[in-house]
Symmetry: C2
């Protein structure tokens, strides 16, 4: 592995004379927009995770692939780190800039290049918004399935970088399952094509390797996505439970029975009350938990699935089940869920949104453990999440102005993520690792696995210039962090031992 | 990149004293079954592609993971190449042994370790046969979706190595889409876990990188697969066409209309007649092409889809459409397709089965080009293939005893694969690259892409001991082969230029 590369992740980045660099860059690429005054770069100090901030040395806003190629060659020759940014909606600090680095903003690559109706694919630039793809495909009765909550703003390039999910990924998969081909630039400005329009591609699966790599392997300049035909019909059921664990068990029973809902979401009492206060969705405020289960497909199929889910929910102990009687009510049911985060924001000065994934069968156990941790740390935790795929989003409520609360919020968050690893899950579902969860990677992976990640990174970027310090921790960092790899089941986890 | 590694792929493998090695190995692992006499290793000279043969130095048949670990450490310390083999049904020579290497046969790892009905997963050893998983899951109304034609014999470890597909992969995906977790050993005998039982896994997507890597990155010792609920109902339509290209166009129109059939297969007249002579499936022997389209799912859904497919087929110019009237006729329709390869074997002394994938919209164009090549080379070509996902299997008929015919068969095969690349497809659909198509990889990828593959290989296996000489050609080989990367659309392809 390259010595340079290891230096870079450990933070040894050379300091450049900014004024001279900007002048050189402008001479090389007079058409490229570059921001460097401190007031101009301020809007780029963080992404959607505002707790992690830095002021980039300079911000480049190219609008042609040739500019990006030249910029990468420029940075590579001078050993300047490059952090790519899409729409800046990421929630793990993956696009946080470096003070000694270039922030490469891909937002201007916002053209839909082609929609091929017969092949059901779209070829788009990386700055195209997620929702804009579905809007452009709508006249052909097609849409792009992954739908992160930020879909109105987030860009497809960022979706690829973080392997984004959404409410519908239970049935339709993550970003990696919905893209066919990527055109990327290496740190040397070489253009590579990963994947193909055909079913399979020989050689190693670089398309999947690149997806979710958080800007560490190269820069995406074009994405070919799969489009799906819109389902004929969709119905949503709202089931109330007097016990959180019963709701957790119902999730496994629905999927175990062979129904794959379009969406299967869970909210606990704290989240239900916050959402109902805010949105008036018609939620049962006394329920300890609700499940929202949407079934979609052909008309007749939806009717059948709806009956099966109803029976399964009753058998699992639901105290009340309502099927949205019309499209307006269906939208209202979803509006409560989709606005649950801002709703929780109304009942607490601050909140910290976690993102971890667990095997479905562990839902009841983990919900119980989170309640126990909440009591232990003296902080309220609201649970609103993609229950069907075990992707939890505990919202930790705190007040940053109350002494010690922020530290306690971070501590309970870390414990929850480690709990996810302990039960066979992972420290991220769809938000990525970025800067936020780099320490928890030490719990998720052992030193052999981390070394392998670094070797792969070095194969693409031997000098470690692309997004250094994110996603993959050094072994040195893990040793400092102190908590190395949790062997599944081997080391008893204190939260679980008490029950 | 390691110098040693590059030497190895170029064929510079040291010669060991076999007798001494066997004695050492038996002293180290007295329980390990080792074959080395020439009559004992003969059955292992080739996999399903008998054209490529070699006699392995020794064959190891471990039955415990610890033996495999010790064996790998043994080989690694002595720089002996290791080729892994599952059931030996592969069709591209991926498991062809090396005369100076160890053939590591994983067939004895044939236990199903666990079926988790709630999670719909099975944890199995790599030597478990593909069909055995579905058989074990059947009492729970579950099955494992990928179904290569060899499913009665091929093992799941080999399926992972080749990213195997099958008739149903159009709707249900390839192996990579149907596995959750792999336990693998590196060349140093370290055990790594790739993927997880949860929805997503942070870090780089090693699970996907490993799947389809043809034994070049490590040895699979455990696989966790997804299981699906069996569809309630399935119907198959048999449509006749008086023109191959019309049938090709119909394929795109069905998928373009949003129907995703469980299977969508095509056969041309030569294949139809051969199959009908052999199986009496009730095929129309005068049709120029038939499509077999199976729709599966809930009862009512299947009825609806069946009507839609019928209308689409008629609009596309089908001259006759029959729906299998009962399960017996459905099985008969499929029996003709599934036995098409041996049926073609009855009408020609030899045949060479190709495997390439193209975007669906290119089907009519490529079928026309194959007919032209067939005439040019004076060899019959039968087309039997997974039309829905553009995965072609042209069968080139020849007589190995007729002077020059085998060379002509290889030449037309290579031209067909290059044609697949030229239209935006790939040189393999589900059979892998192995030894057979290593030269065509030079057409599929440019030198930057091949260099990247070698760097990734070196990250896992710096000394290049795992399955050297397969899958990824050296740049040196490509230079010798003479035909470098075909840029899609940039270099006109002679077969296409004539039309």
């Amino acid at each position: 592995m390259s010595f340079l590369y290891i230096e870079r992740v450990d933070g040894a980045i050379a300091t450049h004379d900014k004024t001279a660099l900007v002048a050189e860059l402008q001479a090389l690429l007079p058409d490229l927009q570059v921001l460097h005054a401190s007031e101009d770069v301020r809007p780029y100090e963080c992404d959607g995770l505002s707790a992690y901030r830095a002021s980039p040395m300079l911000v480049a806003l190219p609008d042609r692939v040739e500019q990006v190629q030249a910029l990468l060659k420029f940075a590579s020759a001078r050993q300047i780190p490059v952090v790519a940014r899409g729409a800046g909606t990421g929630l793990s600090g993956g696009a946080m800039p470096l003070e000694k680095g270039i922030l490469l903003v891909m937002a201007r690559f916002n053209r839909i290049l082609d929609i091929d109706v017969e092949a059901s694919t779209a070829r788009v630039q990386p700055g195209v918004r997620n929702l804009a793809i579905s809007q452009a495909a709508a006249p052909h009765n097609l849409y792009y399935a992954p739908d992160p909550s930020s879909q109105i703003a987030c860009s497809i390039g960022g979706n690829v970088a973080e392997n984004a999910g959404g409410v519908h990924c239970l049935k339709y998969g993550l970003t990696v399952h919905n893209i066919l081909k990527l055109d990327v630039l290496t740190i040397d400005g070489e253009r590579l094509t990963l994947g193909s329009e055909a079913l399979d591609c020989p050689g190693f699966d670089l398309l999947a390797l690149f997806t979710g790599s958080e800007g560490m392997l190269g820069i995406v300049v074009e994405v070919t996505v799969k489009l799906l035909t819109k389902p004929q019909s969709a119905k949503v059921l709202l089931a109330s439970f007097d016990d959180v664990e019963k709701a957790g068990r119902a999730v496994g029973q629905i999927i175990g029975a062979g129904v794959i809902p379009g969406g299967l979401e869970m909210m606990d009492n704290l989240a239900i009350r916050a959402a109902e206060d805010f949105i008036k969705a018609g939620y049962p405020v006394n329920a300890q938990a609700i499940l929202l289960c949407e079934v979609d497909g052909a008309e007749s199929d939806v009717r059948e699935d709806c009956d099966r889910v109803d029976a399964l929910l009753r058998a699992a102990g639901a105290t009340d089940i309502r099927v949205a009687k019309d499209e307006a009510e269906r939208q209202r049911f979803w509006a409560g869920r989709k606005n649950a985060f801002p709703a929780v924001g109304r009942i607490s000065p601050d909140y910290y949104c976690m993102d971890g994934t667990i095997p479905r069968r562990q839902l009841p156990r983990v919900l119980k453990s989170i309640a126990r941790l909440s009591a232990e740390f003296g902080l309220r935790v609201a649970n609103v999440f993609h229950a069907g795929d075990g992707n939890m989003h505990p919202l930790i409520l705190f007040d940053a102005n109350a002494p010690g609360e922020m530290d306690r919020a971070e501590a309970i968050g870390a414990r929850i993520l480690e709990l996810c690893v302990e039960v066979g899950g992972s420290i991220t579902g769809e938000h990525g690792v970025g800067r936020e969860k780099i320490n928890q990677m030490c719990a998720q992976f052992n030193s052999d696995e981390l070394t392998l990640f670094h070797s792969l990174k070095a194969a693409f970027d031997p000098a470690g210039l692309l997004n250094p310090g994110k996603n993959i921790p050094t072994l040195h960092r893990c040793a400092e962090f102190g908590s190395m790899h949790i062997h599944h089941g081997a080391v008893p986890f204190p939260e679980l031992e008490r029950f």
